[in-house]
Each structure stands twice: as structure tokens, then as C-alpha cells.
Symmetry: C2
């Protein structure tokens, strides 16, 4: 599982002392080749953390030999000093990993509090310690070391004929399209060059990470990397490879929603019969971000009026008196008005399905969201991030 | 105070039995003239309640002789039957108010649960009962009868030389620009014709009700009406009159934020040095709607990183490394990075001031919002609306 499921990768996860509680907080993933191709997608937030600015540059070159990830500090809004710290982290990794590595091909990702400088006196020795513990079985430890408020670590894997795609993710709050607050590293031993990796990764993220919206908040640090070692010696057909990448991304995205801060429900919002896919996504996100609806779902109240109210704020094509809404399969709203008996809706389970039928075309989209709970408020009023 | 502060108006507020708990739930406001000019602004939600569709038509004629308002049911998403019920309400009011009134000049406003038909067997006799209790001192009772989850009724008044603008408002959740979930009736004895009323009302709402955003949710029923009786015989200069309308709207808007469901903080977000007023409003709303920031404010945590993260999601003109943020006067973020000591920020009081300096121009805007609390979650997971 995780980033060492595919051949040609080693990883480690250690406690460097960045987190005050002594939990693991530094991960290292190394591509041992023979190929070192890479692609990445990053937050669309215009306020970008130093490691995002750095890694965007690195990925542009199409080759990444290693990734250093830390939890316990986002290194965001930290000015020129923060960027120097990221640079120094890559330099340190290049130095300890040996002659095959140069700082310009080492990506860095950070997560945690915004607006604080990282404790470099702990982080740099941590990189050396992690390098010493690199192992072909280190994927699990790496996945654990990138957790912040995650209650569980998240890994996924998909197999092709003779090749593998694996990955790890962290993220529990500030989850929103474009992208969620998360760090994700995917690895594959398929023999794929950087442009094809980029294409597969963008296709996958558009339909997975970009369609989860736990709390409408967009992070400064989101990073998704896909590294290919070519160690299988197999160059799969693009569609087959892209399907595997998408499967792993979809699996990890679902795990992120399932572990979102304070959530008690995972809400699958499917918008159908839209005039365009963009319309379907716009309507899905509007429903996903409606705080009143999120509260109602938490209270197991099939409040379809709040769904209509959210649809009404969009610019999508629809007629109000043709809208239909189902909650867990019961069409509680028909033609913009009262439909089947809302008492028929069973909402006891964690997963809740909302279907919004725009009756305006043939396109559709699925957005995943969470409910809004007192626990979410508690966790995010007590935890600075 | 309220809608009977100005001469030429009578009002009543009674319990018609629409609310199961027996609280007042029906208000009637009558313009006794000599003039019957009116203007209105309505929700920009494309899913509009039956009374909104009806009253938009009525106001288009420029004359409104009476307004029937009910709490206890929104008559939204109720199909053709819901529209017939609104029509019947106006017809009933015309019948009991006498020869000077016709249904086509009687506005109707409703608030409460979405997706339920109103109990017309109670509402129509209630209109008759309210008509019998109309009084020049009835403004307070009318303001009480339109409450839903409001803990207090809201009224305001402004005086010009020889004329008055007064008003009442309800609204406690689903508060967002365009407009908040609210019903507002303003009255004046100034002698102003419908086009000038419309201009003054649009100017005022743009800067007041449209700039409060308690929870990002936009209602199906928002209605703001301004009625002029001309009973003072004075025709004020437009600027002076518009100022008074704006003062009353601003006062009521501030009261809505101060009584928002479950809120423990009122947040005044001022965006300064923006390249345009639109930029300032876009940034202000993005900050106002950031759930993580709203939680932090609830926890009295001056979490400026979440302010920057919200600014970064907008399309406004700014450079990330030139942004400055003050919380309660302390510039905790300077040039996109750490500024003054966050421990200097005192957040014990209900009102919290956030200043976001975009360093991109000379325009500004103020948006009011609330924090996000466990009480908000509780109230909105237990209460269907």
C-alpha cells in the first residue's frame, strides 16, 4: 500500500520534533528509478505557501527524485524567509541522498499552522534521520507522518497488468475544490513520461479531489504529486493508466471526506439532467456549501427546501417549477414543490445521497461534502491552522 | 417607532393560529394616504416564494395600499396552489379593508418553513381580525408578529424636517447578500413618488441589507418594501430622503446581525485600499463566508492566516506579499507575513473588527457577518425552515 506499493520507491516517516507532542511529522519519498518523471497539481488559492511556490518550479522540469513532506507547520504567509527555509530543506535532502539528487529536482510539501516559520533546527536533522530510515516498506510510516488532525492515515492502491499505482493523502479540514487542503503523493512503477503523467493527473484530480468540498475553504498548501519510476518496465496505454490514477485519487478523496473534521455524515450530491457539466458542478458545489442544509443533514432532517434554496443561487440552466430532489432515494420534491412523504426518508447511516434533477439536459456530476456539526465548530475554534 | 412612526399608516399584529405555539403570526400594514406610492426589492434567489412573485407584480404598479405579512410558513416551493393562496390573501384583505383597496395593490410577504402550504382556514380569518385591530399605534405589534427565530423584534426610525421614515424587520438565519432572509417594511409620510422611492430604496439596500452575511445562505422570501403616504405634505430633496432611508436600513441590518441565530460575535469586515468597490465587496464576502475563520472568531483566536486564505480565493486585484490584516486594530499580518504580536488582540467583546488592506487602490467596503457556533448548528439541525 501507500507510496511504496509500486516498485522503484523508498519512503520513511519519522518524528523530527516539529510537532510539540512528539508525533511523527516528517516524511521522505524517494524515486529510485530508473525513470524520475513527475507531474503535480497545486492549490488555486492565490495566497500560496512557500513549498507550493517551490514545488511548482520543480515539477515544471518534469523530473522529481524525492519529496520531503512535513506536518506541524504550513510554512505559508512566512515571507522571503519561509521560501529560503523550503529551499534549504531541498538542499539538505539533496546532500544526504547523494550524487543522483539535486535540490532542483526535490519537491517540498508542508501542512499545519499558517503564519509560523518552521523550526529548521529540528527539520533539517529530521531530513537526515529520515534518509537513514528509507525502506521499500516505508510507505505506511510516511502516510502516518503527514497527518495533522486526521484521525487515520490514508493510502490507496490500484493494479494494472504488471504495474501499480499507489498513494497516500492527508487532509481533514479546509477541504474544497481547487483543491482540498491536502497533501497527496502518488507513485507508479509504470514507465510513463512527464507529459502523460500530467495529463492523467489533471484528468483524475478534476473528477476526484476537485469534487470534494468538506467546508468550502480553500487552502494555501494543497499539493498532489505523481511520480513514475518506470521500474516495472511496462509502458501502459494511456486510458488504462489514467483509469488507475483516477481510481487511486477517487479512493483517497473518499477517505478524506470520511475523516473530515467533526463530520458525522458524508453527503454524496449527484446533479443529473443538467444542461452542461459546468452547470452540474456549480449546482453541486452550491448545495455542498449551504451551511443551513449541512446543519439539517446533521440533524437527519430531509430538508429539501434548503436544497432548492441553494440551487436558486446559481446561474445554471433550470426552471424552478421543474426541479426534482431525492434524498436517499425518496423524491421529496417534485416539480419544485412537495413530492413524496419526507417521513419515508431514512437518514440513520453516515452516507447520505442527495439527487438534484435540473430537468434541463443530459449532463451530470457528483460532489462529496460533509455535514456541519458542533464538533467541527469546536475543533476549528480551538485549533489554529 | 416601527411602521406607524410616520403619519398616514395603521398597523396590527395578531395571532391567527398559523404558528402551532399560539404566538403572533400575522401583521397588517395599511397606507391611509393621501398618497399610496411604493417601491420594493426582493430576493435574487431564482427559486422565489409565491408571495415574492405576487408582490413583485404589485410593486411594479407603483402603488401599494396595504401589506399582509405572516410568519409560521414561507409559502415557498408550494406550486400553483401556493400562488393561489397568496392571491386569496390579497383578495381577502381588499375585501375587509373596503372600497379604497383592490387586491392588485396589496402586497403579501411570508416567512417560515419552505415546502408547506399555509393553513388558509386560519390565515384568512386572521386577516379579518387584524383589520379590526388596525391602529396608528400598531407598529410594535406588527413587528412582533413577523418574528420567526428572532429573539427580539426589530424597529428603527429616522426623522427629517417635518417627515419621518420608520420600519420593521425580521430575520435571524439564512442571512446573505441578495438579500438576507428577511421581511422589511419601511413607511414614510414624506411626499415621494414611486420612482424616487425605488431609487432611494435600491441605494439603501445595496449598502446595508446587501452587505450583511450571517451564514452565506440566500432565502426564497426576502422582501423589502418602502411605502409613502405623503401625509406630512412635505416633499424632501432626494439626497436628504435617501439618507434617512439608508439610516433606517443600516440600523435594521445591524440589528439583524446582532440577533443572528446562534451567533456569539458580530464581525465588521472592512476592506480598504481596493482597486474597485466590487473588489472590496468580493473580498469582504469571501472573508465573511469562510467557515474556518468564523470558527476561529468564535474561539477568540485572531487567526489571520484564514483571512489571507479567504482573500486568496477571490479574483480581486492584489499582490499576496503586500496584504495587511488588522484584527481589532492590531496589524497581525504585514506584507503577507507575520506582523504585530497576535497576543495583543483583545477579542472578549461581541463586536470584532477585521480590516483587510489590499494595497491596490483607494476603494473600500464594509461587510457584516457572524461567527459560527455550536448553537447555530444546534438551532439549524433541529429547526426545519
Amino acid at each position: 500500500m501507500s507510496v511504496t506499493a509500486a516498485r522503484g520507491f523508498t519512503a520513511a516517516g519519522i518524528a523530527a520534533g516539529i510537532k510539540e507532542n512528539g508525533n511523527p511529522d516528517l516524511a521522505l519519498v524517494v524515486n529510485t528509478g530508473p525513470r524520475r518523471a513527475a507531474a503535480g497539481v497545486f492549490t488555486s488559492n492565490r495566497v500560496k505557501a512557500a513549498p507550493v511556490l517551490w514545488s511548482e518550479q520543480v515539477v515544471r522540469g518534469g523530473a522529481v527524485t524525492a519529496v520531503v513532506l512535513n506536518s506541524g507547520g504550513a510554512n505559508a504567509c512566512t515571507g522571503p524567509r519561509g521560501f529560503q527555509d523550503t529551499h534549504a530543506t531541498a538542499e539538505k535532502a539533496a546532500q544526504v541522498l547523494g550524487a543522483e539528487h539535486s535540490a532542483g529536482e526535490i519537491a517540498v510539501a508542508s501542512t499545519g499552522l499558517i503564519g509560523l516559520l518552521l523550526p529548521m533546527d529540528k527539520l533539517l536533522p529530521g531530513v537526515e534521520k529520515a534518509a537513514a530510515e528509507l525502506s521499500e516498506h516505508g510507505g505506511e510510516k510516511a502516510a502516518i507522518a503527514i497527518k495533522t488532525t486526521d484521525t487515520v492515515h490514508k493510502t490507496a492502491v490500484a493494479q494494472g497488468p504488471g504495474w501499480t499505482v499507489g498513494g497516500m493523502a492527508k487532509g481533514a479540514g479546509m477541504l474544497a475544490p481547487g483543491l482540498a487542503t491536502m497533501l497527496v503523493v502518488l507513485t507508479t512503477d509504470a514507465d510513463v513520461e512527464a507529459p502523460a503523467l500530467d495529463k492523467a493527473l489533471r484528468e483524475a484530480t478534476r473528477l476526484t479531489f476537485d469534487r470534494i468540498d468538506s467546508d468550502g475553504c480553500m487552502s494555501t498548501n494543497d499539493t498532489v504529486l505523481l511520480l513514475a519510476s518506470g521500474a516495472s518496465g511496462i509502458a501502459p496505454e494511456h486510458g488504462e493508466f489514467a483509469d488507475a490514477v483516477r481510481a487511486v485519487c477517487g479512493d483517497l478523496a473518499r477517505q478524506l471526506i470520511g475523516d473530515a473534521e467533526g463530520a458525522s455524515k458524508d453527503i454524496r450530491i449527484e446533479v443529473v439532467n443538467a444542461a452542461s457539466e459546468d452547470d452540474a458542478v456549480e449546482v453541486g458545489r452550491s448545495i455542498a456549501r449551504n451551511n443551513l442544509l449541512k446543519c439539517a443533514i446533521h440533524g437527519e432532517d430531509p430538508n429539501w427546501g434548503r436544497v432548492l434554496s441553494a440551487i436558486g443561487t446559481t446561474s445554471a440552466a433550470f426552471e424552478p417549477d421543474r426541479l426534482n430532489v431525492a434524498i436517499n432515494g425518496v423524491w421529496v420534491c417534485r416539480n419544485g414543490s412537495v413530492g413524496e412523504d419526507r417521513d419515508l426518508v431514512d437518514m440513520r447511516f453516515r452516507e447520505v445521497a442527495i439527487t438534484a434533477d435540473l430537468a434541463a439536459g443530459t449532463e451530470s456530476a457528483v460532489i462529496w461534502a460533509n455535514d456541519l456539526t458542533a464538533d467541527y465548530v469546536h475543533e476549528n475554534s480551538a485549533y489554529s491552522s
